[in-house]
Symmetry: C2
Subunit: 252 residues, 2 copies
DNA sequence: GGTAGGAGCTGCCGCAGCGGCAACTTCAAC
DNA sequence: GTTGAAGTTGCCGCTGCGGCAGCTCCTACC
């Protein structure tokens, strides 16, 4: 069973032009090419196309998609990965919708009050806008990521939201300490980090060297750094230094 | 209270380059420009930027975004519109995730069976991939759209899914009638359309002329036509003709 | 008062991912 | 045998920025 290009275009919703483009660039060659030069696709190509479109919907670039598909050993495993990422992206949109909802409420409130609308925490206007672009967040700590993933799957929606709010609150407390001039090694900062560390060890034992690596990731990992810097400039490095100091002072 | 470009970039997560680009193209000029040429943004600009980023996340092009923002009378109303579209987009991702999930199941089933994986309905591989790109679907029938929207909001997740499946089943039955050679005016086709029409009138009274217009929309409205054509080529026109015949034969 | 570093500015070039032609061939059907 | 739909290969163009270079500015420190 094979299909000509127009049928594949109809079934998948992409244009024939796009399919030709994917052939030209080597991303998705057809199963065979007729003596007349026409392209014919089989089931395997449809499965590949599905993956391509899913990844594209997640904002992955075509060259990167090509690498993922060619490096792929188990198709079902790969699909499970895509599935996870789709759900994460869905949650991001959910968060974005919640942000918009909050903005509406603030807008109406200020309209009722008559004051000209003053935004208290402008950062909050943009929660959920960061494009996830195939978040390979925790690739440096695969086991930890797995553990966290398993816990997250078991959590309810409300629990997940509460967790997220708590982490944000932690970051804001840290930002305030930074703004008020405390060096990273100062007592109140170290108390915060200690609380963070103990929350982490409740999940799993973390060695001093591992914790130091996590601290470095606050700056080195793109996604994490962005999250910190969105709260306040320099916060990522501040968190890293605070962890550094904590490890030196209390874990060695 | 105003912020320099780097602060806005940090808070919103976009680059300063992007903000300059939005100024150059007139999409988002800063609140004021200092004597030194530096750009400064105030709260109103942050609110506009939020809308720009939300719309961009929905796949709306920058020129279109510009038109929407300038045509906007009530900010809160506009935000409510964006909010609805965000939720719709989230649901699309949900559908896509479900499709992937189903593919995984089929893949594992065929692996257990040992047969080389045969796809029964290849179309099903691609449910949810059509980019919604600011679906202005029912703009031709604003009242009907509103009614449907209100019902949809009151429905549970399961109800909504069931409704979607039923509509898909209708389309497939129609496609089979078309494939077996029945003309659009033939009895079994007309029976289908009659059932559709009666389901519609249960929601709201629909005049003959209105129903004819809905029929034309199956072909003229991009989103609807795509949905029909994804099932079978020519199905959109077939549905339109069937409605046309139904109106002529039974509603006049 | 010099100067070093960071942030801002204005160009300008380039790239990804196609869309939209044009010009030609092929296929299926009547 | 003709005709209309569907296929092919090019090539040009667009969008939405990223990434420079080259310059100005401001602040801070010595």
């Amino acid at each position: 069973m094979d299909w000509p290009i127009s049928e594949v275009a109809r079934m998948s919703g992409v244009t024939a032009r796009t399919l030709r483009h994917y052939d030209e660039t080597g991303l998705l060659p057809p199963a065979r090419i007729g003596a007349n030069g026409h392209r014919y696709y089989e089931e395997h190509q449809l499965l590949l196309l599905q993956q391509i479109l899913v990844l594209r919907a997640l904002g992955v670039g075509l060259p990167e998609i090509g690498r993922i598909l060619s490096a792929q050993v188990d198709e079902a495993d790969a699909l499970r990965g895509h599935h996870r990422r789709l759900l994460a992206e869905r949650d991001r949109l959910d968060a974005l919708a919640a942000t918009v909802s909050r903005t509406i409420a603030e807008l109406e409130q200020s309209r009722k009050d008559g004051n000209p609308m003053t935004i208290n925490r402008p950062e909050n206007l943009f929660e959920g806008v960061q494009p996830s672009h195939y978040a390979e967040n925790m690739r440096d700590f695969p086991e930890l990521a797995e553990e966290v993933g398993r816990r997250a799957a078991a959590m309810s929606q409300a629990d997940a939201e509460a967790g997220h709010r708590e982490r944000t609150a932690q970051m804001i407390r840290l930002a305030e300490l930074m703004a008020s001039g405390h060096p990273a090694g100062a007592e109140p900062v170290q108390a915060e980090v200690d609380a963070q560390y103990r929350a982490l060890t409740r999940l799993r034992t973390v060695s001093a060297e591992e914790y130091r690596a996590i601290g470095r990731s606050c700056v080195d990992n793109d996604a994490w750094r962005t999250a910190y810097e969105a709260i306040a400039p320099g916060l990522a490095a501040y968190q890293r230094d605070a962890i550094e100091a904590h490890v030196t002072a209390r874990l060695s």
